[in-house]
Amino acid sequence: MNDMSFVERNVDTKNIKIAAKDVQVYYGDTHAIKDVNVNIEDKTVTAFIGPSGCGKSTFLRCLNRMNDTIDVCRVKGDILLDGEDIYDKKVDPVQLRAKVGMVFQKPNPFPKSIYDNVAYGPRIHGLAKNKAELDEIVEKSLRRGAIWDEVKDRLDAPGTGLSGGQQQRLCIARAVATEPEVLLMDEPCSALDPIATAQVEELIDELRERYSVIIVTHSMQQAARVSQKTAFFHLGNLVEFGETGQIFTNPEDPRTESYITGRIG
């Protein structure tokens, strides 16, 4: 039976990329994330779903220490990237964010040329020895962002002059330019039209060959389309984590069922 199932749903590896253990997040007195334990696999798209305010974005932001910038935010528990605690004092958050890239809800290209948008990360991290190498990284990244053909003749044009969908793919190209190992995406398609959404989803599936991708989405259909694993958050708890096909046909927890079928629960 198994060899007849949908090939694209096969998870290529069982290697754990990120392990979260007993993670708690507080915003001041508010307990935003409660006891989250989850293993995120390598070369897999994992979707975080749940109603607004359930903690999915908060948890996502813990994975590259974006919450460090919020004064009242405290994170407890362990988050291990390849077995190493990312909240260890020795870890430089800037280096961490090169390994764990992020794409946001609204495309946010720098007010610079298309070329410089992508070259920025490799430059500050010293990934290129000379201009030729940098050119190569920029081209490779734009190709991985599935936008090369559309922009190759106008690399000096401002990134902000592209369409919304192109800007988002530029941001993805920028995120992959530093050769990250994990790509976090916080509602990457919510500002895009259906065609641009389909292009980004196709791109996510291609990125899965190299990276562990984690996507927060409000669109359950998008989670169903792009992910192999789905995590359902509710009121700060990780209610259910499992194979996407199983979550959408036969979830174990009644709260998951209520949410994905569009019921009040």
Binding site: F248, T249, N250, I260, T261, G262, R263, I264
Partner: protein
């Protein structure tokens, strides 16, 4: 699931297709009983009514297929809703097949009234049909109540129907060997018996859909095959 959808029209659509299933089930139950009664009482008029009535059953299946396709396209059902839609489609297709078998019984009744009755086999067939009709009623009740225990009971009862068919099969063989003039009626009676046995299989499939709808799994145990006639040789 008793909770309401946020989109109330989704609830109304799901209720509507389930109402169609129940209506279809009612028509099919009546068709089984009337076909069997027309056979026993040699009532050609009733047989004709069963044959004509099959159109309404077919129409309902078409309607259910159209509405489930629309529901899938427009609402993208998931989890329990998805299983409900899938089970409705399969149940409708099973009911439609049972309706066809009832129609076929009524057709053969039209021939059988022209010849001498063979023993009291028509009464035996009617008892068998009665058993299948009760199973169908319970399967549909189990569906509405989401009652896996009752559904499992229905699945197990199919074995009795298979036994009845085995017994009739041997009886018809004997009659045919005794007197070649029995061959025409016995062949028809045998097909009628086989039709009822197949109806039982479709009812079992409906009951299995109930288990799938509620649990998301197929029923565990693989059912013992009760119909042994396909491996029975004629003894001289």
């Amino acid at each position: 699931m008793t909770e309401q959808h946020i989109a109330s029209v989704f609830d109304r659509d799901l209720e509507a297709i389930q109402a169609h299933i129940m209506k279809m089930g009612g028509l099919v139950e009546a068709a089984i009983m009337e076909a069997a009664r027309s056979l026993e009482t040699r009532d050609e008029e009733l047989a004709e009514k069963v044959r004509a009535g099959d159109k309404a059953i077919d129409k309902l299946e078409e309607l259910i297929n159209e509405e489930t396709a629309r529901l899938i396209a427009l609402r993208s059902p998931t989890a329990g809703d998805l299983r409900l839609v899938l089970s409705v489609m399969r149940i409708a297709s099973n009911l439609e097949r049972i309706g066809d078998y009832a129609k076929n019984i009524a057709k053969r009744t039209g021939v059988l009234v022209q010849v001498q009755p063979v023993n009291d086999s028509a009464a035996a067939l009617r008892r068998m049909a009665r058993e299948v009709e009760l199973m169908l009623k319970d399967a549909l009740d189990a569906y509405i109540q989401r009652d896996t225990e009752l559904a499992t009971d229905v699945i197990e009862r199919d074995h009795e129907v298979d036994q009845m068919y085995n017994a009739l099969f041997r009886e018809f063989l004997t009659f045919m060997m005794e007197d070649p003039r029995n061959i025409t009626p016995c062949m028809h009676l045998h097909f009628i018996g086989k039709n009822i046995e197949r109806m039982g299989d479709h009812v079992t499939s409906i009951a299995e859909q109930v288990v799938y709808l509620v649990t998301g799994d197929r029923p565990d145990e693989i059912r013992a095959k009760g119909d042994t006639t396909s491996v029975t040789a004629l003894e001289h």
